[in-house]
Symmetry: C2
DNA sequence: GCCGCGCATGTAATCGGTTGCACCAGCGTA
DNA sequence: TACGCTGGTGCAACCGATTACATGCGCGGC
């Protein structure tokens, strides 16, 4: 405010001079106030207040040999499923004075090279990988920062992870349907290799068996998590000789497409066919009928992942896997 | 790879030694290859290739007195409306080797103080403000980086801006409805002070007048952009003695709630009442009936905003306002 | 043969904090 | 009185890149 050179940002030396101490004391006042005398501390804080000083992050990070931030790699940022996970990460990281920077992994070859630049020790202290399809070479590089996998698992990558209880969630959905008397329960699955698909598949089969039922092979359709896949599945399922009376979908987006396809074909839901989804995305509660689905606590998943990464960075022998429970949300579609 | 000390990240000196040149030459090879001899350039590039060197960003930014990134301030990151705008920004910034870091503005007092930390010259070279409700003190601070406003305008803040053609979009929606023979056209608006509300209101009134109609005062309801506001508005509008036959909503989320409320009351859409929204969010095309709405080209808005900020930072006398055209998307609800 | 010019390169200062080490004052103990 | 210890502080090296300035070399013109 009342400085001589108004165009220069105030530095630690300005504060030191004003407070009549050395820069070391200013630095210590900020990072470890307990070890400076009360006299000095007061003088420094007053000077900081006067000047509006705030430390230059580049200089600090350079000296501390850290990046002060974490990189999250997500496919398709525009997908609202991820934004709440990212918000959870941001909560925790912010409390530890860490940035969250977010990069989209599905952006062609030009972008791929950029990713390698980003996933660099000087830019990111750690990586939060939300995309199971990521190129393994990216994270196997010699100087790649520590990685935590979130939700999806990269095939063969042995890094710590935070995942939802996919099997348990699927099982609870099936148990619910079986309890309502359904005996022919179909499934609209995700792509085959995917770790989410595998988990949900396991829960599906386990629960079907536990209810003393059989998996109706023809009514198990492979999708790709997209709305369009749900539309296609509707046509396919309606053409079956032995229609299922309930369908479990591996995610809400497909369930949404399925609902739409069935609706256009004049099928009444849930009377003719019951539908259950997975994820509980925003849209699901607004559909007509509102979608019964398995909720993933996304914000919590983000928080756990961020905490796990921070532990890892602090050198703590972090747990290698955290499984977050899911919850069946009963609405109108089943 | 074949280094002596495998635990230390390679620096510019390592590369220089390996290539048999000075660090200055290495630096020049990377930032301005034309001024180094071909011999030196080849040696340096080979050394970089061997070591997998990449420059430390903190050191570079410290020396260049820049932050290497831009901060975007958005309310509610979980809202998918923003993610595509952010993705557009990220496209452009990435091409200029700039980070995009994103902060949520609606996170209580604790978060507010954190924002002030973030909106700092050493962390961000510029600010992209997507929230019209932001505290003006934040951007009026003496050493706040340059600002570009996006979509919403902060009351009384005279910074360059990128906005959608809100008036034009609303007008085209009304013109469409009037063209289909509607004469009692209601409106579900956003909150009163909001710049989006004002723009859409202007277009609404202009087009109503142009069609030779009157604004049915009782059928203009103030909402708050939320789904719940749409539900409430449905009840209100149905209770009117002189029901409108069409309703223009200031955003899709409210239109969505309105649709849901009307549907539950047994109103057939668009036969009994036509509904038009604004924004074209993801969900809108998936509703039953699919929502007719005014599309904002969100990715483009993001790109334009980022470009404008970069111009501003480069010292270019950037234009002070860019207005991006909107487009009426005809679907089933009108 | 000498001078001047321009190109390629190296030297070293610099960016702004952080922190190991040295120092000093003050006090208690031998 | 001498010695050791402890808490508080300052000095200066350091983090790793960028870049102003200096240097050296080769070449053409006089």
């Amino acid at each position: 405010m009342d400085d001589k050179a108004p165009d220069r940002v105030t530095t630690i030396s300005d504060v030191a001079r004003l407070a009549g101490v050395s820069t070391a004391t200013v630095s210590r006042t900020l990072s470890n106030p307990a070890i400076v005398s009360e006299r000095a501390r007061k003088a420094v804080l007053a000077a900081i207040d006067r000047t509006g000083y705030s430390a230059n992050v580049s200089a600090r990070n350079l000296r501390r040999r850290q990046a002060g931030g974490v990189l999250a790699l997500a496919p398709n940022l525009a997908n609202p499923f991820f934004s709440e996970i990212l918000a959870g990460m941001s909560d925790v990281l912010g409390d530890h004075d860490m940035n969250l920077i977010v990069a989209d992994t599905r952006i062609g070859e030009r972008g791929r090279r950029r990713l390698v630049d980003y996933a660099d020790r000087s830019r990111a202290d750690g990586l939060l990988v939300l995309d199971g399809q990521i190129d393994r070479a990216l994270v196997d590089r010699p100087n790649c920062p520590p990685v935590v996998q979130v939700c999806e698992i990269v095939a063969g990558l042995d890094a710590p992870r935070v995942v939802a209880d996919n099997a348990g969630g699927a099982a609870s959905a099936i148990a619910h349907l079986a309890g309502r008397g359904h005996t022919r329960i179909g499934r609209l699955s995700g792509p085959a290799g995917n770790s989410l698909t595998r988990g949900r598949d396991a829960g599906f089969r386990r629960a079907i068996a536990a209810a003393g039922l059989q998996v109706p092979a023809a009514a198990v359709v492979a999708g790709d998590f997209s709305f369009a896949a749900g539309r296609r599945a509707a046509a396919h399922l309606l053409a079956l000789p032995d229609r299922p009376t309930a369908i479990f979908c591996d995610n809400d987006e497909m369930a949404c497409g399925l609902l739409s396809g069935l609706h256009h074909a004049g099928v009444r839901i849930p009377r003719d066919i019951a539908v259950v989804g997975f994820d509980d995305i925003e849209m699901s509660r607004h559909l007509t009928p509102a979608l019964t689905t398995v909720r993933q606590p996304r914000r919590r998943i983000g928080r756990e992942a961020a905490r796990m990464l921070l532990d890892l960075l602090a050198g703590g022998a972090a747990r290698t896997e955290i499984m977050v429970p899911t919850e069946l949300v009963l609405r109108d579609s089943a």
